[in-house]
C-alpha cells in the first residue's frame, strides 16, 4: 500500500513545530504535524487551550508567558497543516532512492506554483537545492495502531527534557521533576502535597516555586545546587542578557516572590540526598558547613533541560558536545539543515534556547524547506529570514548568562558517591560504572553491554549523558570523543503486532 504523501512532516507541536507549520502553510507546503501530546503547545504550553477556555482562573497561576501560547496554538489549528495529536514517532526511514537525483518522479508537483529563481547552490547552506521525492518515511503509532507516511522533508522539533539529576534517593516515589509538577498544574489543576522541597538549579526551579506560591502552596525550602562561583562566571556575561527581552527581570521578580513569601533559599548547597523507606521522607544537604535535614512529602528536582535528541540521534546525524550546556547538539546550519539530506532540527532539540528562540528557529527551518522545494526564491527567503534572525539573536543573547549561572557542577552531573543510581531502569550504580570505565571500557555502548546501563525501558534517556560524562571523567577524555549510546529505532514502544500490520499493509 502506498503511504500518504507530504511535502513536510514536522515531529512535535511545541513552539518550533507550530512556527514551522505556520510558515510552511504560508508557502503552501503539504504539511503533517505529528505530536505525542493531545493538544498543541509542547511542554511549555502544555494544555494551554483547555486551561484558557475551561479554567481561565488558572492562567493567573501559570503566568503571562504561558498564556502567550494560546493565540499561537489557535493560529496553528487553522493554518491548514494536517495536525495529528497522540502520534508517537518511532522511526524515520531514509529510503535508498533518496540518494538518487530525480527520485521524486512519482511525486505530483504543482509545477505552476513552483518557483525556480536563483542558483541551486548557496554557499551559506550545505544543502542541495534539488527536487527530492517523498522518500523519507515516518512511522508512528496512535490509538488506532501504526502508520507510515512519506514526505520530502522532515523537521524534528521534539524539544527538550529535564537533565538527569542523579543524587542518592532520586528514584524514591514522591520525588519528581519540576517539569512534572508543572504538567500536574497545567493538565490537572493539581499541586504537590506539603511539606514540599525544590532542589537543583535553573529558571524552572524558580518558576515552579513562584507558580506554586500563587496557588497557595508554600515550599519549605528551595535548595540551589549551583556553586556561588557560577554567579561570578555568569556576571561576566550579564551585559547582553540585560538587553534580551525580559529574561533578567522575570528571574528577579520570581526571586522577589520567594523572598516576600519567606521561602528559604539555600544557595550553593552540597551533598544533596533524599531518604525514605519506600517513599521520600527527608531531604539532606550541607550548606555553608552545616548539615541540614528537612522533612518532605514531595521533592521536585531540576537542573536544566537538554535536547530531546533520540530521533535525530537514531538517524546518525553528526553531533558535537556543548561544553557549556553539557549536552550533545546536532550539527546544523543556520537554517536547521542537518548532515542527513532532507532532515532538519529546530528548537530546543537542536540546543537549548527556550520557547521564543524555538519559534524563530521553526520559522527559519520552514523558510529553508520552502526554498529547497522551490516555493520561494533565494531573495525572498533571505529577506524574510533577516527579521527572524534579528529576533533570534536577541533571545540567544540571554543564553551565555543563563547557561553559566545554572550550569550544574560536575558532582551534580556525575555522582561522586559509588552507591548512587545512575541508570534508574536497571539500577546500575556509579561505582560499578566507574570501575568498568577504569578498566578501559571504550565507550557508552560497551558500558551498556557489560553493566546493562541504558538497557531498560527508558532506553538510556535518563542515564545517557551521565554515562558519557562519567567515562570522560574517569578516562580523562573529552565527552564529545566518548560519544553517546547508539540510539536505534523503535525509539518509543511499538508492539510487534503493530509493526507486522504495517509491513503487510493493512494499517488504517
Amino acid at each position: 500500500m502506498k503511504p500518504e504523501q507530504f511535502d513536510l512532516a514536522i515531529i512535535g507541536a511545541g513552539p518550533a513545530g507550530m512556527a514551522a507549520a505556520l510558515e510552511a502553510r504560508r508557502q503552501r507546503l503539504r504539511t503533517v504535524v505529528l505530536d505525542e501530546q493531545f493538544q498543541p503547545g509542547g511542554q511549555i504550553w502544555r494544555n494551554v487551550e483547555a486551561v484558557t477556555t475551561r479554567r481561565p482562573q488558572d492562567l493567573f497561576l501559570l503566568g503571562p508567558d504561558y498564556a502567550d501560547g494560546y493565540p499561537i496554538a489557535q493560529r496553528f489549528r487553522t493554518c491548514g497543516a494536517d495536525y495529528r495529536p497522540g502520534a508517537r514517532v518511532w522511526q524515520i526511514e531514509i529510503m535508498p532512492t533518496a540518494r538518487q537525483a530525480g527520485a521524486g518522479a512519482s511525486m505530483a508537483m504543482p509545477s505552476s506554483e513552483a518557483l525556480d529563481t536563483g542558483p541551486d547552490d548557496d554557499p551559506q547552506v550545505h544543502v542541495e537545492r534539488r527536487r527530492t521525492g517523498a522518500d523519507r518515511h515516518v512511522c508512528y503509532t496512535d490509538a488506532r495502531g501504526a502508520h507510515r507516511i512519506a514526505t520530502r522533508h522532515v523537521l524534528i522539533a521534539t524539544g527538550a527534557f529535564e537533565r538527569p539529576m542523579p543524587v542518592p534517593g532520586w528514584t524514591l516515589p514522591g520525588v519528581l521533576t519540576c517539569g512534572a509538577a508543572q504538567v500536574m498544574l497545567k493538565t490537572a489543576g493539581m499541586v504537590p502535597r506539603t511539606p514540599l522541597v525544590l532542589a537543583g538549579a535553573g529558571p524552572l526551579v524558580l518558576l515552579v516555586a513562584a507558580q506554586l506560591l500563587r496557588a497557595g502552596v508554600k515550599p519549605a525550602a528551595v535548595i540551589e545546587t549551583v556553586p556561588a562561583a557560577n554567579y561570578l562566571r555568569a556576571l561576566a556575561r550579564i551585559g547582553p542578557a540585560l538587553l534580551a527581552p525580559g529574561y533578567i527581570s522575570k528571574g528577579l521578580s520570581m526571586i522577589g516572590a520567594l523572598r516576600r513569601a519567606g521561602v528559604p533559599r539555600f544557595i550553593g548547597a552540597l551533598d544533596l540526598r533524599l531518604e525514605g523507606a519506600g517513599r521520600v521522607e527527608s531531604v539532606l544537604f550541607r550548606h555553608r558547613g552545616t548539615e541540614h535535614r528537612l522533612r518532605a512529602e514531595t521533592v521536585l528536582l531540576h537542573q536544566g533541560v537538554v535536547p530531546n535528541a533520540s530521533l535525530w540521534q537514531s538517524l546518525g546525524v553528526d553531533q558535537t558536545w556543548d561544553a557549556v550546556q553539557c549536552c550533545f547538539r546536532p550539527g546544523v546550519d543556520a537554517w536547521g539543515n542537518s548532515s542527513v539530506a532532507g532532515l532538519l532540527v529546530a528548537g530546543d532539540s537542536a540546543g537549548i534556547g527556550g520557547a521564543e528562540a524555538a519559534l524563530c528557529a521553526g520559522e527559519l527551518a520552514a523558510l529553508s524547506i520552502a526554498w529547497q522545494q522551490r516555493r520561494i526564491g533565494t531573495e525572498e527567503r533571505d529577506r524574510r529570514a533577516k527579521t527572524v534572525r534579528r529576533a533570534l539573536r536577541a533571545h540567544w543573547s540571554a543564553r551565555p548568562f543563563l547557561d553559566r549561572l545554572y550550569r550544574p557542577p560536575q558532582a551534580m552531573r556525575v555522582p561522586p558517591g559509588d552507591d548512587t543510581i545512575v541508570c534508574r531502569c536497571e539500577e546500575v550504580r556509579a561505582g560499578e560504572l566507574r570501575e568498568l570505565a577504569a578498566r578501559a571500557v571504550p565507550g557508552p555502548n560497551q558500558m551498556k553491554a557489560f553493566s546493562r546501563c541504558g538497557m531498560g525501558p527508558c532506553q538510556g534517556r535518563l542515564c545517557g549523558l551521565t554515562v558519557t560524562e562519567l567515562i570522560a571523567q574517569t578516562q580523562r577524555r573529552d565527552p564529545g570523543e566518548v560519544g553517546y549510546y547508539r540510539v536505534r529505532p523503535p525509539i518509543v514502544p511499538v508492539t510487534v503486532g503493530e509493526m507486522a500490520a504495517l509491513q503487510s499493509g493493512d494499517e488504517r
Binding site: E36, F38, Q43, N47, A50, D58, R88, F161, E162, T171, L172, P173, G174, V175, L176, T177, G179, A180, V183, M184, T187, A188, G189, M190, V191, P192, R193, A215, G216, G278, R279, E297, T298, N308, R424, C425, E426, E427, L436, R439, A449, F450, S451, R452, G456, P457, C458, R461, L462, V492, P493
Partner: protein
C-alpha cells in the same frame, strides 16, 4: 503525592487502580490518578524497589502500569477513561532476573 486545587471538579472520569475506584478530572493521564492517590506504578524487575511517576512527559518510563490487561503502558501517555482498569506492575517472575555480562 498531589492534591487538587479545587474541591469541586465538574467533569470527571472514574477508573480503578488495583481494584479501587479513583475519580480524576477529564482529559488527564492515568499517571495523574496515581499521583492523586499517592500510589506507586510498579516495582522494578531488578531489586523490587517501588517507583512512581517521575517526569510526566513520556521520558522516564517509571510509570509503567497494566491498563485494561495490557502491561508496560506509560501511565503518563495514556488518557484516563471511565471504567479503565489500571493495575500496578510488580517486578519479574522469579528466575527471570537478568544476569549482567562479565568482563573477559
Amino acid at each position: 503525592m498531589f492534591r487538587s486545587l479545587r474541591d469541586e471538579i465538574l467533569l470527571t472520569v472514574t477508573l480503578t487502580v488495583d481494584g479501587e475506584p479513583c475519580t480524576v478530572p477529564v482529559d488527564v493521564s492515568v499517571a495523574v490518578a496515581l499521583l492523586q492517590r499517592g500510589s506507586i506504578a510498579r516495582t522494578t524487575a531488578r531489586s523490587g524497589s517501588a517507583r512512581a511517576p517521575y517526569c510526566m512527559m513520556g521520558v522516564c518510563f517509571e510509570c509503567l502500569v497494566e491498563i485494561d490487561g495490557v502491561s508496560n503502558r506509560q501511565a503518563c501517555m495514556v488518557m484516563a477513561e471511565d471504567g479503565m482498569a489500571v493495575r500496578s506492575q510488580h517486578g519479574l517472575p522469579a528466575g527471570l532476573l537478568p544476569a549482567p555480562a562479565e568482563l573477559p
